[in-house]
Amino acid sequence: MDLIYEPWPWYVAGPLIALVMFVLLLVGKQFGMSSNLRTACAAVGAGKTADFFKFDWKSERWNLMVVLGAIIGGFIASNYMSDGTVEINPEIAQQLSDDYQINSAGEAYLPPEIFATDALGDPFIISVLLIGGLLVGFGARYAGGCTSGHAISGLSNLQLPSLIAVIGFFIGGLVMVHLLYPLIF
């Protein structure tokens, strides 16, 4: 049973991601998760306000199927195949606890300090989640892709723009974690 509940090591997960990309290429699609955000905007009628959303979103419906698959996968994995904890580097866990009073490393999958449903009563937490989402959505479209589209597909195709974008991802991420977290949390 341990085999089912244990987290997958990187050398299982990484090749599976590559496999997903090749399956999508094989059926004539592209691996990119953030495009469906644009599809979603178009589907609810954003084409009326901005030309960027005037495209044949119905031809991109497969993208929403990928989303559905991810939701189902998340449901199955979390309910039947996981004990719902993540062990990280103990030094990092200690530092999270010391600096930000986040004590749930090793006990939860996401820190309840931020993601517990109860925390939603706190306007500060709502702003963190909302602004995080806004930046991800805006940045992904501006950069023309996210982790899957640039870091995996784009770099696999040896695209210089994707390398620039991935360097950008890490500049942004490092600035957030090292410079802005102490100010925010």
Binding site: P9, W10, A13, I17, V27, G28, S34, L37, R38, A40, C41, T49, A50, F52, A70, G74, A77, N79, S82, V86, I92, A105, Y109, L110, P111, I114, F115, A116, A119, L120, V128, L129, I131, L135, V136, G137, F138, A140, R141, Y142, G144, C146, T147, H150, A151, I152, L155, S156, S162, I164, V166, I171, G172, G173, L174, V175, M176, V177, Y181, I184
Partner: protein, 121 residues
């Protein structure tokens, strides 16, 4: 994604603290196989199942959009601890709070569509 913990806020935080090889291993191994596979596809000129060219178009040349867009994305990735794929995985896992992140991401995409023509690309 869920099983590899790539959808976990802790793993993202740890990655940006360079605390573990885990996330780099996932991205790195996907990438090594990806690069090899794409080269094979190009050399052998493999077509997709319906006979069309595979979607391996070169991306547009620009530095500003990829760098600035990338930095904005990275800020959000580290703040919310989730990128677009894992967001849905977490929604499936039953985290109500992630719906706010997804909502933010849709609004962010919409805002980009509104101001797109005024940004450097």
């Amino acid at each position: 994604m869920f099983k590899s913990e790539a959808a976990s806020w802790f793993r993202i935080y740890e990655m940006f603290q360079f605390g573990s090889f885990h996330m780099y291993g996932i991205i790195g191994s996907a990438l090594v196989l990806g690069v090899i596979g794409v080269q094979v596809i190009k050399r052998k000129n493999i077509k997709s199942l319906d006979g069309s060219e595979m979607s391996l178009k070169p991306k547009n040349k620009s530095v500003a959009r990829y760098l600035i867009g990338g930095i904005i994305f990275g800020l959000g990735w580290a703040l919310a601890g989730a990128c677009p794929g894992p967001m849905y995985v977490l929604a499936g896992a039953g985290y109500i709070s992630i719906l706010i992140v997804i909502f933010g991401a849709v609004v962010g995409t919409f805002l980009y569509g509104l101001v797109k023509d005024r940004l450097p690309h």
